[in-house]
């Protein structure tokens, strides 16, 4: 059930009406919990057991962490972390490790280990990180353990963000479950506008770019230089619109039910450098890595060399989180290198002022192109594909029948202009100023225009695979 599908609109209309129609706060929360499991079961009901298992173990671990002795507390933290990482390990990484081991065994003449025929449960990377953050926070005594199981279950499974984030923090979400939600406090116009923006990003922009990118990656060596550049930049736009579109819709859907979920993107394609970029891209995940990995590793407190190691290690794990494959790990490594280089440059006191001015001016295009280039490894199925694209960026191959026309470059400029204007104007905030009847009429017209740009084929969100 995708946010852009008709079925979801019916589902949400029913949940919305029942939620605000019910009087009791507890009844509303139970409804949301049921709806969340129904939503998840619509993907594959078999994995509801998995999410329930994760919920149960972290709930129990959280309770034990609250009142146990230090040794016992460490034990319960390990139970939580090992369980969650094991779930991820089995469902997401087992075959990757087996295949990597088999390649190694092949080199030294050993037999093969059989891989498993497993389906990756949707959203597993998101909800396992979410529940782990809860137990770690309780362990660190930054959060009191929750005593209400159904509240905790709702925190883990809350359907607007269940399958693709933003990754919630218990400290931000659980307090919201304590207070009754009031419809009067819901900024409906603002949230509907945000939903429409997300819908446009996904269904009108990302889905229309997708065939161009898909066709390119079917034969990555068959295009000329200009086409290759156009496609790698367009893939960055596609990924951004696909993922941030989902997030916008998730925030809007949660908001319409009275709950706030954190912002996940802050116009990353306008970032002036790579560090700035990672503060604006997939914020809930970047901050998770910062708080639960980078800082515990020592962050920037243990000297410059250790800082670079920590940065690179964090980004490597970020790559591995995204996908079980060496291409994803390479993507993470390249971003780690980018961050290290930028940090080195920032700390170079002897940089001439003229150079500073040049890098300041070139910061934005360099950031976009670097990120777009790293995505070659993110998108390619194999290293040979990634190599074909990389060499295609520099080769002198002339236009081929498969080449992509320059018209696409104009679309990029247009999209960028819209991105820039959106940051300046924040349309979802402006919407609250419009009188309700006028908003309803204008919203109808805007929906009709947006619908005319929809690409109708079924295209799941890119991040579902993670």
């Amino acid at each position: 059930m995708l946010f852009t599908e008709t079925l979801f609109f019916f589902f949400f209309a029913v949940v919305f009406a029942l939620h605000w129609g019910l009087r009791g706060h507890v009844a509303r929360k139970r409804l949301l919990l049921t709806a969340s499991y129904v939503f998840y079961a619509a993907w594959d009901w078999r994995f509801c057991g998995l999410i329930l298992l994760s919920t149960l173990i972290d709930f129990v671990a959280g309770r034990r962490l609250g009142d146990a002795e230090p040794r016992s507390r460490r034990f319960w933290l390990l139970v939580s972390v090992i369980t969650n990482l094991s779930l991820l390990g089995v469902f997401k990484y087992f075959n990757f490790f087996v295949e990597s081991a088999n390649s190694l065994f092949g080199l030294i003449g050993l037999g093969e280990v059989r891989s498993l025929d497993l389906i990756l449960p949707v959203g597993i990377s998101f909800y396992t990180f979410q529940t782990m953050s809860y137990t770690i926070d309780v362990y660190r005594r930054r959060l009191d353990p929750i005593s209400n199981f159904s509240d905790f279950a709702l925190f883990v499974s809350f359907f607007p963000q269940l399958v693709m984030g933003p990754i919630l923090r218990a400290s931000g979400f659980l307090p919201q479950l304590q207070k009754p939600r009031r419809f009067e406090n819901v900024p409906v116009r603002s949230l509907l506008t945000l939903f429409l923006i997300g819908f446009v990003k996904k269904a009108c922009v990302a889905d229309n770019i997708a065939p161009l990118v898909d066709n390119f990656y079917l034969n990555p060596g068959g295009y000329d230089v200009a086409s290759t550049w156009i496609v790698i930049v367009f893939y960055a736009v596609q990924l951004y619109c696909d993922f941030s579109g989902y997030t916008d819709m998730a925030i809007a859907v949660a908001g319409l039910l009275g709950y706030q979920v954190p912002r996940n993107f802050a116009f990353p394609l306008l970032a002036s450098n790579i560090s700035d970029f990672w503060r604006r891209w997939h914020i809930s995940f970047s901050s998770w890595l910062r708080d639960y990995l980078y800082i515990p590793l020592g962050g920037s407190r243990k000297g410059p060399v250790r800082t670079y190691v920590n940065l690179t290690l964090t980004m490597l794990l970020s790559g591995l989180w995204h996908g079980a494959g060496w291409t994803f790990i390479t993507w993470g490594a390249l971003n780690g290198i980018g961050l290290c280089v930028h940090r080195l440059y920032e700390r170079w006191n002897g940089a001439p002022a003229a150079l500073r001015r040049v890098t300041a001016a070139l910061g934005w295009p360099l950031t976009v192109f670097w990120f777009a280039f790293t995505l070659v490894f993110f998108r390619s199925q194999t290293f040979s594909d990634a190599w074909a694209v990389t060499t295609g960026l520099l080769s002198a191959q002339q236009a081929t029948p498969a080449s992509i026309g320059p018209t696409y470059a104009l679309w990029f400029v247009l999209l960028l202009a819209v991105h820039w204007i959106s940051r300046r104007t924040e349309p979802s905030r402006q919407a609250t100023r419009v009188p309700a009847p006028l908003f309803a009429f204008a919203f109808g017209i805007l929906c009709a225009i947006a619908l005319s740009f929809v690409r109708m084929e079924y295209r799941p969100f890119i991040y579902f695979q993670f």
């Binding site: 008709t6 009406a17 605000w20 129609g21 419809f183 009067e184 406090n185 819901v186 900024p187 409906v188 116009r189 509907l192 009108c204 229309n208 898909d214 026309g405 018209t407 696409y408 679309w411 309700a436 009847p437 908003f439 309803a440 009429f441 204008a442 919203f443 109808g444 017209i445 805007l446 929906c447 009709a448 225009i449 619908l451 005319s452 740009f453 929809v454 690409r455 109708m456 084929e457 079924y458």
Partner: protein, 357 residues
């Protein structure tokens, strides 16, 4: 919209909902007026080819690739002339065109018919409620299912007709519901111009000129078709399973296969089609081409009351030359030599039927 509890002001909520609906309707209508969606490129190209000498044609053919690949109007006209009846025909059949789509195209043509048009030859089919043919991969299937072509024929009249076909079919309730929802969503998409601007933009950006329609719509298989794409795949499947094909021919000869029921057939759609052609002052003749599977129920339609002429080429015994491997491209289609023979036989039966009246 008001920041208040739903239900606290029903009339205000209704007012807001109505304003939204009005905006949606106005917006989608404006999209339709500002950028009206032309027929899907392939169909558009055929209609354009027809319109170039539109008023010279007196016979049009509608149907699937079996006619598209199988009937050469030049051969058909020459054979009809040789038998004393002058015709000038155009083949409007097209690959993958199922009866509901063909019917929508027929209605479109009949809304402004060629001045000399007298005969309409339509391939008789099962009024299958499927939106698209099963294709080898999900991506191609998705693209096919939501293509401009699949959307274009979903007007209100055809929606009702296809829902009737679905209701009569022997599918499971889940399948019926799934297909019904798909058809309704296609109808809604067409009504609200969903995706029309995206399709228009794609046409501009990815403009790949279609091969012009020559030979009055007849498109025989060429050498390249024997090698590439899905067509090549079907061809390969045929070549690799010739024994299966021979067994199918035997099954087609088996009289026991003739008891297939007509209960599931959408007679209403057929009757409406016949009525629409007759209302335009034209004669309708149905054609059952040489297919690759037994279709006794379609042959049995000839005996139905009020059924116009049905030219039935489905019997390997009566038309062995249309079923020999040398004359076939694959299970469903004739090769160019087979098409030549079929065009002649079709003209022969056509003239006989017309003169018998």
């Amino acid at each position: 919209m008001p920041n208040r509890r739903p239900g606290s002001n029903v009339s205000r909520s209704l007012q807001i909902a109505l304003l939204f609906a009005l905006g949606l309707w106005l917006g989608s209508s404006s999209v339709g007026v500002i950028a009206p969606e032309p027929p899907p490129p392939a169909i558009d190209e055929r209609l354009s080819a027809l319109s170039r000498e539109k008023d010279s044609y007196d016979t049009l053919l509608f149907g699937s690739s079996r006619l598209y690949r199988g009937v050469d109007p030049a051969v058909f006209d020459a054979e009809a002339a040789r038998r004393g009846r002058a015709t000038r025909s155009f083949n409007l059949a097209f690959a993958g065109m199922k009866p509901h789509e063909a019917n929508a195209l027929l209605r479109r043509v009949l809304s402004d018919p060629p001045a000399k048009l007298r005969y309409v030859l339509i391939e008789i089919g099962d009024w299958s409620p499927e939106i698209s043919e099963p294709l080898p991969n999900q991506r191609a299937q998705n693209a096919e299912r939501y293509s401009a072509r699949a959307l274009a024929w979903h007007d209100s009249s055809e929606l009702l007709s296809v829902l009737r076909s679905l209701w009569r079919s022997d599918r499971s309730p889940t399948e019926r519901l799934d297909l019904a929802l798909s058809h309704i969503s296609h109808w809604g998409a067409r009504l609200l111009n969903i995706g029309s601007a995206a399709r228009a933009a794609r046409r501009e950006v990815d403009a790949k000129p279609l091969p012009p329609t020559s030979r009055r719509g007849f498109t025989p298989y060429v050498r390249a078709d024997y090698r590439r794409g899905f067509t090549g795949g079907f061809r390969r499947q045929f070549v690799e399973s010739l024994d299966e094909y021979k067994a199918t021919l035997e099954a087609m000869r088996n009289p026991e296969a003739a008891d297939s029921p007509l209960a599931a057939y959408n007679h209403t759609a057929l009757a409406a089609q016949i009525a629409s052609v007759r209302a335009a002052g034209l004669e309708v003749i149905y054609v059952l081409p040489p297919r690759g599977e037994p279709t006794p129920h379609l042959s049995a339609l000839a005996a139905q009351r009020d059924m116009p002429t049905l030219l039935d080429f489905s019997s390997p015994d009566r038309y062995p030359e249309l079923f020999t491997i040398e004359h076939r491209f694959d299970y469903q289609h004739l090769n160019p030599l087979g098409a030549k023979i079929f065009s002649r036989r079709l003209a022969e039966e056509f003239v006989r039927a017309v003169e018998a009246r």
